[in-house]
């Protein structure tokens, strides 16, 4: 559902996020979970031997919007656009903890720490650094500047989208992603994530950030992290609400998480996994659903 936003928008969005949430029956969720797990087991068993497939929001979206791309996934390579979320989230967290006066300062601190961490890992003095740090450290001033600029813009959009002082308890920025492994084969994993996690009473609520404009599948995109949270953490982990932000277009969508939304998302997840499995089985690497 879209939201009629009054100015200041951040206050209106935050009020929507923190409004009381609906209860959802544990029995209903158990039944849904049972059906979904059974169907995913069957799909996972069709994956070529030895392959492990992770369905995350990106692949979920690719299967729905561009099934023809499922057979030839682009290899991951760091870029300013691809690391702006990771850097931007850490920067929003610094702003929230009052360790920086604004996004540009926070992003600078995050990047500097990343370079230090990468150097420590290089010398064997630290176990790990952020995934982008080594690549970022390898760039010259011009490359580093564009990474910082992308992250500042992303961070500013999230930082100004919510009225942080309205949260009764400081929300988690980023937080732990949700991972669910299909138990019988271990070949299939669902990965859900959110930009902000807060609580309304006993139930979590999530904020997720997307790019561009919401399309017809926006509802299912919002339900996906809720479904994965429920699979990974059980009924009490299912968020009561997911607020989707599309800062580029100023669009906001609110999903009240209820049985119907989860069932529709579960159907879409099965279709998406099926598309990827088809592509993995196809000799030309193209899903039959894309032909």
């Amino acid at each position: 559902m879209g939201v009629a936003l009054t100015l200041p928008r951040a206050g209106a969005v935050t009020d929507e996020l923190l409004a009381p949430v609906l209860d959802i029956s544990g029995e209903t969720l158990s039944a849904l979970r049972g059906d979904l797990v059974e169907a995913l087991r069957s799909l996972a068993s069709d994956l070529p031997g030895g392959e492990r497939f992770v369905l995350d929001a990106y692949r979920f979206s690719t299967a729905r919007r561009h099934p023809e791309r499922c057979g030839t996934p682009e290899p991951f390579a760091p870029s300013p656009a691809r690391c702006r979320r990771a850097v931007g989230l850490a920067a929003v967290d610094r702003c929230l903890r009052r360790r920086a006066r604004g996004p540009v300062e926070a992003v600078g601190q995050v990047l500097e720490t990343g370079v230090d961490d990468a150097a420590l890992v290089e010398r064997g003095e630290a176990p790990r650094a952020p995934w982008w740090a080594k690549w970022y450290a390898s760039l010259g001033p011009g490359g580093r500047a564009v990474v910082a600029a992308e992250a500042v813009t992303w961070c500013t959009q999230l930082w100004t989208a919510l009225a942080w002082d309205r949260f009764p308890v400081r929300p988690q920025v980023g937080g732990r992603d949700d991972w669910w492994d299909e138990p019988s084969t271990g070949a299939l994993t669902l990965h859900g994530r959110a930009e902000v996690r807060a609580r309304v009473g006993q139930r979590p609520v999530l904020v997720v950030v997307h790019s561009s404009v919401p399309d017809a599948a926006a509802t299912t995109a919002l339900a996906f992290p809720a479904l994965v949270a429920g699979l990974a953490g059980g009924p009490r982990a299912i968020p009561g609400r997911v607020v989707g932000l599309w800062p580029t277009s100023g669009q906001v969508r609110v999903l009240e998480v209820e049985e119907g939304a989860l069932r529709r998302c579960a159907d879409d997840v099965l279709s998406a996994v099926g598309t990827w499995v088809d592509a993995a089985q196809s000799p030309d690497g193209v899903s039959r659903s894309a032909k």
Partner: protein, 342 residues
Amino acid sequence: MERRQSATTLRGATLIGRLRGEGSDRPRVDPGLAGGLRDWLEDELAAPVAALGDQNGPVRVTKETLNQVLVCESHLVARRGAPRRMTEELARGSLVDAAFRQWITTGRLDDPWADSLAAMEATGDSDGVVAFVGALPSARRHALADELAAHGAVLTAAWPVPSPTWLARTQERLTVPLAGGRIVMSGVVDLAFGAPSSGNASVCIVEVKSGRRKVEHRGDLHLYALMETLRSGAPPFRVATYYTATGELDVEPVGREVLVGALHRVHCGATALCRLAAGGEPARSPNALCGWCAGLASCPPGRARVEMTSGGAPPAGAAGGLTDDDEVEDTAVEEDATWVSP
């Protein structure tokens, strides 16, 4: 009402003060303005969108397509069909944008040439600027580097590094879907600063130009002002163009007449774009740019215009598909860059 001020050369606190509107009140936002403008535009575009039928994909409205279709529909079609050619002016525009972005974000610009090229490489150089300048003869490459250094010197002398509290962000994308997504307005703003509105207009938008002043730059800014209004629910309080060649700053307050003017322009342009997308024949409107049009060879009215104005000789660079702007703007709808981390 504040009048539009003529371009002036400013620097430091004076430049920022002008952009921030110091000494004048920020106007209150009419809470019904954005919704009213959107409804107006959607109503006006309902018929052209209906005529699209089942045509796939949205009709995209950018500053480029709007300028081109309003000048001559045939020119737009010819440009679409011609391969995109990089020029030294376009390369300079992209490099200056990168230098400006670096300066605003980091407050450092030690080597504009190396840094700007490195920025292009880090982002994948989708416009081919790095390859283009690499292929230039040495003398022209050095001349372009000198030119970029001069632009860099102007902007670093004029622009103080913004305070972190001003929320300066660069290359911010604006996307405004209309008519259920059948029409998508999109653009990339070189610099925006100011917090989102809490009742008063609070955002300033700045476009950076490395070329000379042109009247159509004002139309581009008005388009961005309209898009920002539709996106955020509040108009920007100022829009400005900064010219890095001369240090001139062209600042304009955003009133209702600016937004309504931009809306009429979008209505006219989007209507024409919808008609073309539905298979309509492009109208030919001979104009002063005909000599540079990629479609000149197959355009009798355009050739007649060129012959009439040049005595039969086409101008230098004629029919080469030269751009009439000085920058490349990536306005493709952004795909989700939210990859899983390794």
